[in-house]
């Protein structure tokens, strides 16, 4: 039974990682833009959720879309005003710029919301455990697994089956030809960026309960998010998804069975996978 509980917790942790990281996988993989400030959008989602649930009394489940929209709006705004100037620049410029944004977001949130950890008031029906065939499952983690599975399927369908998805892939593969064919590349990128930021915001809102939410959130989880993206590869959305699951389960299992080295498990896995497949688990292995 224990092994199933560990597996369950691992899957939940992995799913959460995926929602947090998928936005970065999109911007980094599809738009080739290194956005280290990704965690800041997650934090924005978390904090807006705290405000609308705790202060305005909105139900938690209704606040999740709010978190998504709020982060997506910030994302769209930033993309149009700041990020759009950096698409053509070198990766180093992008890194420096976005790291700057991270620090600004940390002090900004610290100033407005205070530095101590905050929690979202989770409704009673999401607290505690339910027993299924003797297996104790946390309701909240179950919700995470359900929601994240839905999101994954939706994102995958949008990218592969819709007109927007093909426009996006075309814009990424060859910006000039795509715009020559009448695709408004700027709009496509802006929408994609906003969507990725929105997903991060949703991840932040969902994760606050488990990961804790304070102004240093963007820095604390940057490493985990980066690991998911590098291990998963950036060519598709399934790569980061499987990588998140693998790392989530590995991390939880490592911490459970060998607590002394548990914290190292996730890094060890990353090193081994990257030696074996330097471009990540699922990459087209093309060099740009």
């Amino acid at each position: 039974m224990t092994i199933l509980t560990v597996l369950f917790d691992g899957i939940a942790a992995g799913m959460l990682l995926f929602v947090l990281a998928s936005g970065l996988a999109v911007t980094l993989g599809l738009m080739n833009f290194v956005n280290l400030a990704h965690g800041a959008f997650a934090m924005a989602g978390g904090y807006i959720c705290v405000v609308v649930v705790n202060r305005w009394g909105m139900p938690f489940l209704a606040a999740l879309p709010v978190a998504f929209l709020f982060s997506a709006m910030i994302g769209a705004l930033m993309e149009r005003t700041l990020y759009c100037h950096l698409y053509g620049r070198s990766h180093l410029d992008q890194v420096l710029f976005t790291v700057g944004l991270v620090f600004m977001s940390i002090t900004g949130v610290d100033y407005v919301m205070g530095s101590s950890q905050v929690f979202i008031d989770i409704p009673k029906y999401l607290q505690g455990q339910i027993e299924v065939f003797g297996l104790g499952m946390s309701r909240y983690r179950l919700l995470i697994i359900l929601l994240c599975s839905l999101i994954t399927v939706a994102v995958q369908l949008i990218l592969t089956k819709t007109r927007f998805g093909s426009r996006l892939r075309a814009s990424v593969d060859d910006t000039r030809v795509a715009s020559g064919l009448g695709i408004n590349v700027n709009t496509v990128f802006a929408l994609t960026f906003a969507f990725g930021s929105g997903l991060a915001g949703l991840g932040g809102a969902l994760g606050a309960e488990i990961l804790g939410l304070d102004p240093t959130f963007p820095l604390k989880f940057l490493i985990y998010i980066m690991i998911v993206v590098t291990v998963g590869g950036t060519s598709s959305i399934t790569g980061p998804f499987l990588a998140s699951l693998l790392l989530g389960i590995g991390d939880v299992a490592g911490k459970y069975y060998v607590p002394k080295f548990g914290a190292f498990a996730i890094y060890a896995m990353m090193i081994v996978i990257l030696i074996w497949r330097p471009h990540g688990l699922f990459s087209r292995a093309v060099s740009k």
Binding site: D9, A13, Q117, F119, G212, Y224, V252, K255, Y256, G262
Partner: protein, 401 residues
Amino acid sequence: MVTRISASKASGIFNRGGLAAAAFAALGLSVSAAQAQETVKIGLIVPMTGQQASTGKQIVSAVKLYMLQKGETVAGKKIELIVKDDGAIPDNTKRIAQELIVNDKVNVIAGFGITPTALAAAPLATQAKVPEVVMAAGTSIITERSPYIVRTSFTLPQSSTIIADWALKNGIKKVVALVSDYAPGHDALNSFKATLTAGGGQLVEEIKVPLANPDFAPFLQRAKDAAPDALFIFVPSGQGGTLMKQFAERGLDKSNIKVIGPGDLTDDDLLPNMGDAALGIVTAHLYSANHPSAMNKAYVAAFQKAYDFRPNFMSVGGYDGMHLIYEALKKTGGKADGDSLIAAMKGLKWESPRGPISIDPETRDIVQNIYIRKVEKVNGQLFNVEFATFEAVKDPGKAKK
């Protein structure tokens, strides 16, 4: 009470601006000579940014409250406070302490949010003969690192040893410990373990959790599987909320496993937001905002009126640290050199919002009551309600030697 003397009146007008130049000019008008000796400067080094920011916020608030209540002049000296943010990074602390001592010529350095920062300033205190008043950091060894260090906060072994004592007396035999993997965590674990095993208890498992740990789930599952009587927890204040939420999420609140630990877990700063999962946690600690003394009621009321948040154990460290400096200055008659101040500080006794405390003349460490408290709802808010007292506890970390 502090008596104000006329010399400070002229400068009082300029206080609010905080301009050193203006203050000096004002002093120049009212006092004929030796202006430099008329001010006693206190350099307060605390983390105001980063993860430990709440510690700094509590201490600075308490120190300013003390100065507001007791006036800014003591024994004929004007007290000047210089607040610096070190972000809880030891390198910063060392640089700032040096600047304060060399450039600003401070008479006392104070504050120090975490152990490494307190240790970083220790050699400077020794070399410059400047008293270092530790208002927060809690590892036992700190006061041994310089003869100029005095502590008004607490030591971790104080709480950890007492909670082990209490556990043994209350039929808790089999314990799993879950502590953060850094110096204070080890300190808490070792002193708890020593007392517990000496009294016939059994520590069945020691789980050391990485300091930057996002998810406690696997560690808590491991603790659950060991089925102990109690779970001893020490995590830096700030992580306690997440931990207790996950504790309840795992159904551990419905099991018979008690949660015990030093009071950092149920820090007054965070307790109101921890939710009902925290109900029933038993901790040993030096201060609760709910401490039922008249002095504490007045303190909490004044604090909340001024700042709109609840004072925690860090705040009393700051408040008492300031009191210690004021009283030492009274005792020396205004002499503010390091050796006189330290000599005056040794053995001082007073009543603090936390209860009666004193400075051990031998170790320069704090001697105080440690209270056993249980988290309960008082007027709809979560509080640590004290129900047993261990009086005048010295630092067990040093008592052993």
